[in-house]
Symmetry: C2
Subunit: 225 residues, 2 copies
């Protein structure tokens, strides 16, 4: 069998599991975000700040993927919400089956929000649907404005871009407008937040947006009920 | 056929082509480095600075891989040495066949040094031998000290680590000693250079080391002649 054919078969199987997950998330009214970025763009700290700002009665869970180590899970667990590390042991992305298996450990629990931190990689995670409501791509200002053009898949498939580490703008040759323009060339409707997890800049806007999404997701359910 | 089996077959085929390349590089006395890093760690600027510092009579060529765009090739070509972009159109790494094909365009030319800039990714490029003499991993100080532990393959397989963007140390929570220790936990013999391509820090040491490798490679040939 050709490699391409096998790759296609693996993706079809992934899509089948992802569709089941999506159905389940809809039934249980769980809003699911899949965070994608390069290694070192600040995903884990961004999620820590996001979790800290959520009302304590939000039923939120986190799945965090890495090739090796459970460092991120240990960091995120400090905030007090349930967290699981998924160690891919070499694989460069999470897949729907890994999510399914991890969720089995929380059987019987319902969540309002599930945050998935994918493996640090702008290429492979793009191809694997995890049943999420949306992908969110993080780009830190130390990485260069050209990344949306070089890794178009990640930016095309994401509904939100977080331009992170804006506190470092004075020290790096990064033009915010070019970065925004590049992202919109690939994906004209992408929503953009500009954040720093050290200075706190932009986090109130992001957190307000997240609460709005949660409220809308609840309302949708009430409307259907 | 199982996915794992196909993956293995693809890697075996890659190893075969890589072995041919390695044989050819030895015969033509070409020193080949394969640069691996996250997107945005500063590979391209590092290679620009490296090329600028080489004696003009060095016969050097550059292959630069990206998922999309030929931005890097255009940047690198300014320095005046032959450069080719390899666009992988979705693939997350270069493979030996891509290198072979690109080199065909330079048939009849001999090089002292071939620099290969892999696709920005700390996972997939690690599995694909390109016939290089050594892999070199770049880690920028904005990415966090934990990366050698999270992406051990890249650091285990590299003989050199470039700790880049040290000019940003005052503005980021990055501990150099922890980063060095983590890299050496994975690879006790890894050589480490600490560089900034904006301030120029550490580049003289790197450039001197590179000239030494070139001289040693020439000497080896003379000894064999």
């Amino acid at each position: 069998m050709e490699r391409v054919a096998v790759e296609k078969k693996v993706l079809n199987e992934n899509d089948r599991v992802a569709a089941e997950l999506r159905q389940r998330f809809a039934e249980e009214n769980t809003l699911v975000f899949n965070f994608i970025s390069s290694p070192g763009s600040g995903k884990t700290l961004f999620l820590e700040r996001t979790l800290e700002a959520l009302p304590q009665d939000t039923r939120v869970a986190v799945l965090t993927g890495d090739v090796q180590t459970d460092n991120d899970a240990r960091r995120l667990a400090r905030v007090g919400f349930p967290v699981q590390q998924i160690t891919t042991a070499g694989a460069c992305h999470l897949d729907a089956r890994m999510i399914n298996k991890a969720l089995a450990a929380w059987a019987g629990q319902r969540f309002d929000l599930l945050l998935i931190e994918n493996v640090g990689n702008l290429v492979c995670p793009t191809s694997y649907d995890l049943g999420e409501e949306r992908k969110i791509v993080l780009l830190s200002v130390t990485e260069g404005e050209d990344k949306p053009l070089k890794y178009p898949g990640a930016f095309f498939k994401s509904k939100v871009m977080i331009l992170n580490k804006v506190d470092l703008l004075p020290y790096v040759p990064f033009d915010m407008q070019t970065a925004r323009d590049n992202a919109r060339r690939i994906n004209p409707n992408i929503e953009i937040f500009e954040t720093s997890c050290t200075s706190g800049n932009g986090l109130p806007e992001w957190n307000a947006w997240l609460r709005l999404q949660l409220a809308l997701n609840q309302k949708e359910v009430s409307a259907h009920a």
